[in-house]
């Protein structure tokens, strides 16, 4: 990619992020439920705060200012790298994110690995032998994987692997072994989607004339499949893997609750329920950045996989 292309790209990213932050701020703002009331309720161990308490809290946190003033104040600080403090705990939002990010990244990477380790061989095997038993088994497997709710599979794995077989701990985030069950739970759902896509994409490619040509040339089937077909079949798969990131973040909320792993998903959901604006904004911004970067990475991978795909800049 050229320098100009990169600049254009960065500018688009900045605009997207600005839009995301404005939109979330706006949405949280118009959602019924006063942050002062919800946060004081939490601070008081679930009891309803008095009107005086609410008024004092609103004044202390500048919640009586108009929307645009509050947003501008937040944005001004954010641009200087200060994401503010949680209304509830008074901890710095950046600290909270930094503390939870490793858990989320760990889960995302591990479950994506699980997904790929299951999905690629399964998809390739089905596509190479369409209509065979392997194909049917893989397809039924993916159907089950797609249909099974995360939390249900999570409990099932806990009961089998932790309670019955005593292999792994039930829940927690103390070390790598705590990652096994959550990543299996989340990964198997993704594996199902990816395997089906690998199968379709492979079947398409295996039908192409150049594959027929290679086959008639007497090329060994393995080389044909892995070297010639797979690489071309991967373009749509990479896109989906990028999009599956949203699945990881969605799924993470459930997984984080079931497996007691403090991560970004629960941080965001809890903050939304508590109307803890600074936390909501900080996490949304981060997720926005991650999405934009992942999409960028996906685009870069395209051009590696298929040099015909050009990412802007000077078109020839």
């Amino acid at each position: 990619m050229t320098g100009a292309g990169l600049c254009k790209r960065l500018l688009t990213m900045a605009i997207v992020l600005l839009g995301v932050s404005l939109l979330t701020y706006g949405l949280v703002f118009v959602t019924p439920g006063d942050p002062a009331r919800t946060i004081l309720t939490q601070q008081m161990g679930g009891q309803a705060p008095s009107q005086d308490a609410v008024d004092q809290f609103r004044a202390e946190n500048g919640l009586d200012d108009p929307f645009i003033v509050q947003y501008a104040r937040w944005m001004g600080n954010a641009l200087q790298g200060d994401l503010g403090q949680s209304y509830y705990s008074d901890r710095s939002v950046s600290d909270m994110i930094v503390q939870r990010l490793p858990n989320t990244i760990g889960l995302a990477v591990a479950s994506m690995l699980v997904a790929l380790v299951i999905a690629l061989p399964a998809g390739i095997a089905s596509a190479s032998n369409p209509g065979s038993r392997i194909d049917y088994a893989a397809q039924i497997g993916s159907l089950i994987g797609v249909s099974m709710p995360n939390f249900w599979l999570g409990y099932l794995l806990i009961i089998v692997c932790a309670l019955r077989l005593n292999l792994l701990p039930v829940a927690g985030a103390a070390g790598p072994k705590y990652l096994v069950l959550p990543s299996l739970t989340l990964g198997s759902g993704m594996a199902a989607v990816i395997a089906r896509l690998v199968r379709t994409a492979m079947l398409d490619v295996l039908d192409d004339a150049y594959i027929q040509a290679a086959r008639s040339k007497g090329l060994r089937e393995r080389i044909l499949v892995y070297k010639h077909a797979l690489r071309n079949a991967l373009v749509p798969v990479v896109t989906i893997i990028g999009l599956q990131l949203s699945y990881v973040l969605n799924g993470a909320v459930v997984i984080e609750v079931v497996f007691q792993r403090p991560g970004l998903g629960t941080l965001l959901v809890d903050a939304i329920f508590a109307r803890d604006y600074p936390v909501v904004q900080g996490v949304t911004l981060l997720i926005g950045v991650i999405f934009v970067l992942v999409n960028f990475a996906v685009d870069l991978t395209y051009s590696r996989l298929d040099p015909r795909i050009d990412l802007g800049g000077e078109h020839t």
Binding site: T31, Q43, Y88, S89, M96, Q99, L167, A171, G172
Partner: protein, 510 residues
């Protein structure tokens, strides 16, 4: 070459994962004999007592001036004596020979910063404290702006627990929860765990447990599974259904006990049809609360007559119950002008249709709403249910019209019946029924002005009787908590208002 690299990477990754997982699987959790693990739904998110002092209080890391005894009355804490000097002045005498976990002596001077901080916070805005002073080495004087006899009860709240002056940074923030309790703070993993150890030179009897680990586990099934798997020694607030499962396991014990938390209907007194007291009474007669307790609560909890459960607190007045009687309900509706018309009832062309708002962060509320729906339909109401977020309900019900809200809250979270002001005082109530009664306001205000227990009891009883008659709130059921422990846990005594778990009294034979 390219394909080999990719395949090799894949193989290496697979081999790596299986190798590592083999290692992780082998390295089983070593059971530490002296560590006690307790799991609760609330994740630890702050150190500051202003934000969640109630949690540090529950773990008994922090101690307040006054505590709550097992009979839900105010008892000595860091203060051994307290009394009203005049109607706006209270004097507290601090216990002798108490030190903070960092060695600082507990004196009027050293607890003052914490107290001032607490009373200035938003959460305490409803407590009219004017000033806190250190009058002598161990004497604290608290002045209120108006006569306020519930003050001692508020001094039991976690938010008021003193921390050592060394834990308060220059900007006023709290750096570490250095308190005076039988457990002292060791470290914490925000939103996950708190580790504490027994305070060696505690001023009371030292804890039997050496290390206490608190885990915040939102999901109740996960809490139960961790208890079953031996990852927790105590799992708090389990679903009612779990009580039987726990009791049937030889490794586990279930503790079930009633708490002063109630489920109730809040009626909108400013809009039809519930502006009419007869219609509210009809609802109360139409609801079969025994059925709710037996079928939905697994027999745990009990039906509520008034705001306070008589077997938990002495502040419950004797009240005339609304016994289940669909016939009485029908008669009242007819008297109110709602005539039967097919399956429902109408008056001047309007159908008797109401909507029940409730929320699902407290388990069972939506299910209970459905049972109430069926029971009200049986006497001629047309009922629909909306499940919303509790903060949305609060906002919409406070600012606009509604019919009725199925709500749940503690009725005695600080041990004083002044809690009733929160429910029914025409100006300061946080409940949104719109109830206005001069007599009730007068009693509530007068009860705040006197420290005489008998007079206060009479006044609060009068308020409860009026509430029962006027029905701004319709009491349904009280809660019971289900706590699961490993069978080898001994000495645990559930606390009625759960202001403290008192795990220092627990022993574990291994």
């Amino acid at each position: 070459m390219y394909k080999f690299t990719r395949r090799q990477t894949l193989f290496a990754a697979a081999a790596g994962i299986s190798g590592l997982s083999g290692y992780w699987l082998q390295s089983g959790e070593s059971v530490d004999d002296d560590t006690f693990r307790v799991g609760s739904p609330w994740t630890p998110d702050a150190i500051d007592p202003v934000a969640n002092g109630w949690l540090w209080r529950r773990l008994n890391v922090l101690e307040p001036l006054l505590t709550v005894d097992y009979d839900a009355t105010v008892s000595p804490g860091l203060a051994t004596d307290w009394h009203m000097v005049n109607d706006r002045t209270w004097e507290f005498t601090l216990r002798e020979g108490v030190t903070f976990h960092d060695g600082t002596e507990v004196t009027a001077e050293t607890v003052l910063p914490s107290l001032t901080r607490a009373f200035e916070s938003s959460s305490m805005a409803a407590v009219p404290v004017e000033s806190v002073e250190a009058a002598a080495d161990r004497t604290i004087i608290i002045q209120t702006t108006v006569p306020f006899s519930p003050l001692p009860a508020h001094c039991t709240r976690g938010i008021t627990c003193p921390v050592s002056p060394s834990a308060i940074a220059n900007d006023g923030s709290i750096t570490e929860p250095i308190g005076t309790g039988p457990f002292q703070f060791e470290n914490w993993e925000p939103s996950s765990t708190i580790t504490t150890t027994a305070t060696p030179d505690y001023h009371g009897s030292t804890a039997h447990i050496e290390t206490l680990i608190y885990e915040g586990i939102t999901d109740d099934q996960t809490r139960r599974l961790k208890l079953e798997n031996g990852e927790l020694d105590m799992a708090r607030i389990l679903p009612n259904k779990a009580a039987d499962t726990l009791a049937s396991s030889p490794d586990l014990t279930a503790h079930t006990y009633k708490i002063p938390r109630a489920r109730y209907l809040v009626f909108d007194l400013d809009s039809a049809p519930f502006a009419d007291r007869k219609v509210r009474r009809a609802v109360m007669y139409a609801i079969d609360r025994d059925h709710i307790v037996d079928s939905l609560l697994n027999g745990l909890g009990s039906k509520a007559i008034g705001p306070f459960p008589a077997d938990v607190t002495e502040w419950a007045a004797e009240l005339e119950p609304y016994e289940y009687s669909p016939d009485k309900a029908r008669r009242l509706l007819t008297e109110a002008g709602w005539e039967p018309d097919g399956d429902t009832r109408t008056r001047d062309g309007d159908t008797l249709s109401v909507s029940i708002w409730t929320y699902n962060t407290r388990p069972l509320l939506p299910t209970i709403a459905e049972v109430i729906q069926t029971q009200l339909q049986a006497v001629g109401f047309d009922v629909d249910i909306s499940v919303m977020e509790s903060s949305t309900i609060k906002e919409q019900a406070t600012n606009g019209e509604f019919d009725t809200v199925l709500w749940s809250s503690s009725v005695l979270w600080y041990p004083d019946p002044d809690r009733l002001s929160d429910l029914v005082h025409s100006e300061t109530a946080t409940m949104f029924s719109g109830y206005e009664s001069e007599a009730v306001d007068r009693h509530l205000e007068a009860a705040r002005r006197t420290a005489d227990r008998d007079e206060r009891f009479e006044r609060y009883a009068a308020v409860q009787r009026r509430m029962q008659r006027d029905l701004p709130l319709g009491w349904l059921t009280y809660y019971a908590n289900v706590i699961g422990t490993r069978a080898d846990v001994e000495g645990y005594q559930p606390h009625p208002i759960e202001s403290c778990y008192h795990l220092e009294e627990v022993t574990q034979r291994r």
